[in-house]
Amino acid sequence: MSVSGRHWVDGWTVSTVVTLLLSAQPPTRLSAQVSVQPSIGLRYTSTLVHDSIVAPFDVRPALAPAIALTVTAPLEQRWSAQASLDFATSTLERHDAAGATTGLGRVSTIALTVGVRRQLPTGLAAGANIGGLKYLPAQEAGIFRTGTGGVLAVGGVTLSYTPASAIAGRWRLGVEAHYDVHRFITPALRTEGFTSGRVVHRVALMLQAGRKVP
């Protein structure tokens, strides 16, 4: 039996990554000036699993503290390339139709993405990124009882705002809204009878500080 996560990475992921990279059309010349942006914030994640046993219910993570580290290298004009490592952790919850909520243990996610970013007027910047996301459950139980299914493809967009006056020493402060999407399924869910992954949307609001690295 094939492992679902590997299937995603081998098939859909590769083609999507190539497609998105081609469509981004970033300029190709790299500059030596690199900046780093640590950020911290909160992330909302939509339903991971919608199931119905007697009555419908949803499983999704609670609002999660998130931290990220982004490295940005300027390209030509207003473009820059960036890579980001993102971590979030919270409690997985089952929400029954009657309103009851049951904790299902801690689950964390780590994502590594690469993308491009374009500077916009008045301190705004927009970016797009793609990469891989891995679920890290605290216990191999429940929907993760036979593993997580490997690395899932993720793609997203960001919109950040850095006011010209928000400077603390060598750091430039700002806020960033981050949206990404991936498909979620685990081997245990496949065993249960789910035949495809559910589209999961994640939205994060982050406070960001950035500084140039000489």
């Binding site: 081609l22 046993i53 007697v54 904790g103 999407v181």
Partner: protein, 208 residues
């Protein structure tokens, strides 16, 4: 040309939301219309195993087998050292501490679960009691294998599966002298039945 491709790729992942699987193929679990399962606020269910031979390990094995079935945290259990606070008390004549016989299952043991009486508020008045007994004429390994399967079966009753399955492939099969329990673990039908039970509104309440 490239931009439409990117849009198409993004749209592709937004389509075809998965449909919850149909959980057809279950057997009855109620007792004359009454339904019981351990409520979330009472988890983990506390099992006490008489410290005799291999019994504590058999009970832990049974707890793990049932807990591992559930995807959404419906049931968890734990072994406790003190019977006074237990929800389920398991006793046995003896439980040979030998590797279970890998051969064909034989009717080398028996088990019974006493479902407690209820008070006027439909609440059980005392813990569930499971009793395992060995039958004469079998090797310790055959008894060990039988007790392993029977402990899971009886724990299933204590979970709220009050009926037997008509299918010999299920762990909740109602054993007879001709056909003992042959399943080593809960089957898919056992899993589906337990899932439906744990999402059905109970009419009986756990003991205080």
């Amino acid at each position: 040309m490239r931009r439409p491709l990117a849009v198409a790729a993004l749209l592709a992942i937004g389509c075809s939301e998965p449909t919850p699987p149909a959980r057809t193929g279950t057997y009855g679990f109620d007792a004359s219309g009454d339904v019981f399962h351990w409520p979330t606020e009472r988890l983990p269910v506390r099992f006490y195993a008489q410290p005799r031979g291999n019994l504590p390990r058999l009970v832990q094995h049974a707890i793990d087998n049932w807990a591992d079935l559930f995807l959404y945290g419906e049931f968890t259990g734990t072994l406790v050292a003190d019977s006074s606070g237990a929800d389920v008390i398991v006793a046995a004549d003896s439980a040979p501490d030998v590797p279970p016989d890998p051969g064909a299952p034989v009717y080398a043991c028996s088990g019974a679960t006493s479902v407690p009486s209820t008070d006027a508020g439909n609440r059980f008045t005392e813990p569930f009691h499971i009793r395992l007994a060995i039958l004469p004429g079998f090797t310790p390994a055959q008894v060990g294998a039988c007790l392993r399967r029977t402990a899971i079966h009886e724990a299933g009753h204590a979970l709220g599966l009050f009926q037997h399955s008509p299918d010999p492939a299920d762990i909740m099969w109602g054993p007879s002298g001709a056909t003992p329990i042959t399943a080593d673990r809960p089957s898919d039908q056992d899993r589906r039945t337990a899932e439906v039970l744990y999402h059905t509104t109970p009419t009986l309440l756990p003991p205080p």
